[in-house]
Amino acid sequence: MADISVSHPVITPVRSAGYWQNVGARLVRDKTAMAAAAVLLLLLLAAIFAPLVAPLDPLEGRLVNRLKPIGTPGHVLGTDELGRDMLSRLIWGGRLSLLMGVTPVVMAFFLGSALGILAGYAGGWTNTLIMRTVDVFYAFPSVLLAVALSGALGAGLGNALLSLTVVFIPPIARVAESVTTRLRSSDFIEAARASGAGAFTIVRVHVLGNVLGPIFVYATSLIAVSMILASGLSFLGLGVRPPNPEWGLMLNTLRTAIYAQPWVAALPGAMIFMVSISFNLLSDGLRSAMEVRQ
């Protein structure tokens, strides 16, 4: 699917608090990024407060009301194949869909960074062992790995999350390792060592400060990929199980209705698209805000 290679971030000595303020200020001035953030915030709040926001029960419907068009009184966005309210299902669906998109990246961010930093900082055999294993998984195209893993493990939310996490660990670990390795041999780490700082302090202050920022930006761009992949798994029948509302699964169960109610059937896809484009725009904004030189 999407390319998950990354341009290596520039290494500079520890960034000051002023730098981060500067980044924040630039980000706030970026109208596109702010609009994207607003959309995401709105969807997140709607998902969290779904029981309050959703007009109807997302699991309850009558077959006689099935596949009503958009604009039907009482069902603003129509109804699905079982007569359930689409608006309510889309709102509730945000919970699982956002969870499925974000969780694997978050987990991979922590695990991948930890592995990469450990490998980069320790060097030697530890590095070889970790990185060659990572390379093996990196040698699979991401979609193939995700589909093969969840196909092997069987359908289900847990298995889909696990597969996607495994997919995102290698690229993050590689970036973390390469940045850490270069950092380790750079002048200011040598200086810190010479001044008697312990290994833990060096990692905590210098490595984390320099490495996690860029990886974080990178990881935000992966969320969009993860959203599309996760919904793709559900679309293939390898992700979330019914009757839970989830956008990828809704797209799957509604796809045969595309001849009867094309607009209603297209809605879950539009939601995935909206979230994924918002994450991409926000990540772009963050990246360009961080590119500022001090």
Binding site: L59, G61, L63, G154, G237, R241
Partner: protein, 542 residues
Amino acid sequence: MTQTKPILIAALLASSVLTIPAAALAQDKILRIGMTAADIPRTLGQPDQGFEGNRFTGMTIYDGLTAWDLTKEDEASVVIPNLATSWAVNPDDTTKWVFNLRDDVTFHDGSAFNAEAVVWNVQKVLDESAAHFDASQVGVTASRMPTLRSARVIDEFTVELTTSEPDSFLPINLTNLFMASPAHWQAKFDETGNAEAAWAAFAADPSGTGPFRVTAFVPRERLELAPNANYWNPARTPKLDGVVLVPLPEANARTAALLSGQVDWIEAPSPDAIPQIEARGFTIYANPQPHVWPWQLSFAEGSPWLDRRVRHAANLCFDREELQILLGGYMGIPKGTVDPTHPWWGNPSFDIRYDLEEAQRLMTEAGFSADNPVKVKVQTSASGSGQMQPIPMNEYLQQSLRDCFFDVELDVIEWNTVFTNWRRGANDESANGAHAINVSFATMDPFFAMVRFTSTGTFPPVSNNWGLFGNDEFDALIADARTTFDDAARDAALARLHARIVEEAPFVWVAHDAGPRAMSTRVTGVVQPKSWFIDIAPMDMN
């Protein structure tokens, strides 16, 4: 890379020219069919892909000794003579049958069909010592004729078949054994030198006695058939110039292929697409099939279904006519495993219908109420052969049964896993505490329709009596049917069995699949029988 350059340029050119006729105009009478299978069913005689395989690469290329009568729309399809003209069981030893064969039949390769060919075809799946024994065909074949053991030539056109126990279902089972050409296989064997390679070569260039022969085969994409001009049965000698089979597993792709004129016929259009398909001038053929979409109930210890009132209540508590809406009307409303017009019907005293009050009364009597609902767990899948639309249908049942104090939990797992669990039984840990399993089944053959679900001899892992339903009464009814060799008397015995099954209700009977298929109006001579099958041979195009 240099080689691909002109290709890329050509592709770019093509993408700028968008108005290309979707398919070459078919002047010849070539019938193009979009199947639901993801692959061409096997062509070597014993098809895979379930009954869709028999429908498209079995009955077209091959014949069995017996066949289903597919010429009537409004009567149950019954077994009729085919390559065998008549048969009889040996009255002294009812495990031995004599089949008299047609003497005017040749295979596509020109060799003659005779008793030796029948023996050879029995050996291909049942005699491990035979040179042409093929383990890969055993799986799809042996279970469909569970008692057949061997065959023996009596004279050129007479053959004797032996079963492991007296079994009056044998002639029905034999619709599933297709006659491949021994001479053609031998030629392939002489070319390749080993049996496995010979079968592979035979599959690519098959030879049967059927109304069509294979002319081109692209695995996973396309099978082309041409008429067999020398076919022995004039009523089934094709008028078409050819048939093309295309696997199109994705329902929307299938519909789009029909609407854009890529194919003339699609199997199982999605009910939601049917109005548009009809609006565009295509014809929908449908007829309730010998198929049941059930909840098969557990009689294991502690199951709430042990109380017959609860079983009856569940059968009465949902409106099957409303469920029909979900399926666009393409669903038969079951009154039992077979319908009242069927010879096995037998007038059961329990009337399966929608009667909410009676259901609630039964449940109250059984001690349940809105505050004290009965918890039931049902294992099902999100897809699968014959499963229709399992998720929406189960969700509908879940909603409806709430009115009769059922608290239904759905355990949705992968289709192959459900199918495996079906053989393990309600007591197995694979059941995951479920009280019912949702696996649909075909009902053409009495063993598959009834016996395997109601005999104590078919408890898991032997067969699919998942719910462990059975007792002496049912075993006696089954033995009676199996050992009655007069057709009418056998059907009467089966009717007694069926009536008792409906009365005891080891199932919740939810739906019969109507098996809709959509065809271009150019296709004529279509008869949609009450069967999983349809006969392509008499069709024509204009």
